[in-house]
């Protein structure tokens, strides 16, 4: 039984879809959901960026106990952050990501977090497609 799963979240529409799938899976399994945000070279560097509204809204909408959902910001590229989450403190047994994140590039060749994860993860990976994916 899955006790902990990690969802990669960069604020993109695909990440929001992945969040919804991850939270629903966690609810059904009675697992803790860790919503992970990778802090790159650019962007905010405040110690504790607030939980995005879409996270709290989706938690409420799906009727989840807010205590079962953890928000965590880590330094690194999204792929490395998610790969590291199989270790403590997250101990993820399942990774959930959107097909593509904020980048304009669609991720068939370079820098695709979802493809990198599928290639390197030691736990199962759920890749949530975009509505545009055929």
């Amino acid at each position: 039984m899955t006790r902990s799963l990690a969802v990669g979240f960069d604020g993109s529409p695909d990440a929001a879809r992945a969040l919804r799938v991850g939270l629903a899976l966690a609810r059904d399994a009675g697992a803790t959901t860790w919503v992970l945000h990778a802090r790159g070279l650019l962007g905010e560097r405040t110690p504790e960026p607030p939980v995005p509204e879409v996270v709290s809204e989706t938690v409420t909408e799906l009727g989840l106990d807010p205590a079962s959902v953890r928000w965590r910001v880590e330094d690194g590229d999204p792929c490395s952050v998610l790969l590291r989450s199989v270790g403590p403190p997250v101990n993820a047994e399942l990774l959930v990501v959107g097909r593509r994140g904020h980048g304009r590039h669609e991720g068939l060749l370079l820098g695709s977090t979802s493809l990198e994860l599928v290639g390197h993860a030691r736990v199962p990976v759920v890749v949530v497609p975009s509505p545009h994916d055929g």
Partner: protein, 346 residues
């Protein structure tokens, strides 16, 4: 002593994205820092050259080179939330990687001087098969692999404020390269802990000395001094420096608190690792405050040319002194444990 500086005027203006901190003005600022030294005949400008495919393929996967080239020629775009490429970026990156080779070859021919490779985009985050952290091709790794191929032993000193995860990964199991990094931690890219010590064939060839936010120059100097016995035991024949200047207190991307004078001290220390003249080259990595970059480049190069007191007053009093000794202890213990585990396994 002569300074060999690469002429960065090879069209790098075309690698630019509006508002991005890794911008053409950085190379201009670095070259202004060189010009501030008024070196006259002691300044030799080395012409650029493109790295050949086989030189890039020593450290990068063939498929990645094909994909990156095709992506750029297709117009470019964002490779990840931090990293961009334009239609011209492939040509520019290949010249950036070749720049180091041109400087190394010239140093080798002359048997004297210090090299300063003003290139962009920077390189130390680039992995064998992936661009990241503003980096497309790993310039310092291409240069180190070129030297290793010629039978040399290379120490790479990386004092950029971010850990050079790409360089570490590329030489993870290469016993002829010693990678020494001081960097802020935690910070992007999230790697660079003292327990990362190298692969089974290269245990102890990776030495990470992470420092807390606010660390001042005295702490970073102490870290490099603490690394000295490891470097000396390695007996390098070349010293390459991943010279990022984003540990400067004015830099907008990180929180270390160095002055330009601290970089002079670091350059003097790194230069001291060289076995003789003509065996040190600095490679520009990060550094996003233009005035700090200009002053720090001038101070570093000045120190390598003999004046270690150049630049702003060195800084001291920040946190992290204990972090250096703790990191070294963790490094030693990890190497010991892994070495005995290897021994038992064989």
């Amino acid at each position: 002593m002569t300074a060999l500086v690469l002429n960065a005027d090879y069209g790098a203006q075309a690698h630019e994205e509006a508002g991005h901190p890794e911008r053409p003005a950085r190379a201009t600022a670095a070259l202004q820092g060189v010009a501030d030294l008024h070196l006259g005949d002691d300044l030799v400008v080395v012409g650029p050259r493109a790295a050949r495919r086989e030189e890039l393929a020593r450290v990068h996967a063939a498929g990645y080179l094909d994909e990156l080239g095709a992506f750029c020629y297709g117009g470019g775009g964002d490779l990840d939330p931090d990293t961009y490429a334009t239609a011209d970026s492939w040509t520019i990156a290949v010249n950036a990687a070749g720049a180091g080779l041109a400087v190394l070859d010239t140093l080798d021919e002359r048997g004297d001087g210090v090299g300063f490779v003003v290139t962009r985009p920077p390189g130390h985050h680039a992995l064998a098969d992936r661009a990241m952290g503003f980096c497309l091709l790993n310039n310092v790794a291409v240069a180190a692999a070129h030297l290793v191929d010629a039978g040399e032993r290379v120490v790479i000193v990386d004092w950029d404020v971010h850990h050079g995860n790409g360089t570490q990964a590329i030489f993870w199991d290469e016993p002829r390269v010693l990678y020494v990094s001081t960097h802020q931690w935690p910070l992007y890219p999230g790697s660079g802990t003292p327990v990362e010590v190298g692969g089974p064939h290269a245990l102890g060839r990776t030495l990470n000395l992470p420092l807390p936010p606010g660390a001042t120059g005295d702490v970073v100097r102490r870290a490099l001094e603490a690394a000295a016995p490891t470097v000396e035991a390695f007996e390098p024949t070349w010293v390459l420096v991943s010279a990022g200047f984003d540990a400067h207190r004015a830099d907008p991307l990180a929180d270390l608190a160095l002055s330009s004078g601290d970089f002079a001290a670091l350059a003097a220390l790194a230069g001291g690792f060289a076995p003789g003249p003509g065996r040190v080259a600095l490679f520009l990595e990060g550094g996003y405050d233009l005035a700090a970059l200009r002053a720090s480049v001038a101070a570093s190069l000045s120190a390598l040319l003999g004046d270690a007191t150049a630049g702003e007053t060195p800084t001291s009093g920040g946190p992290g002194a204990e972090a250096v000794s703790a990191a070294l202890e963790q490094f030693r213990r990890t190497v010991e444990v892994l070495a005995s585990a290897e021994e038992e396994a064989t």
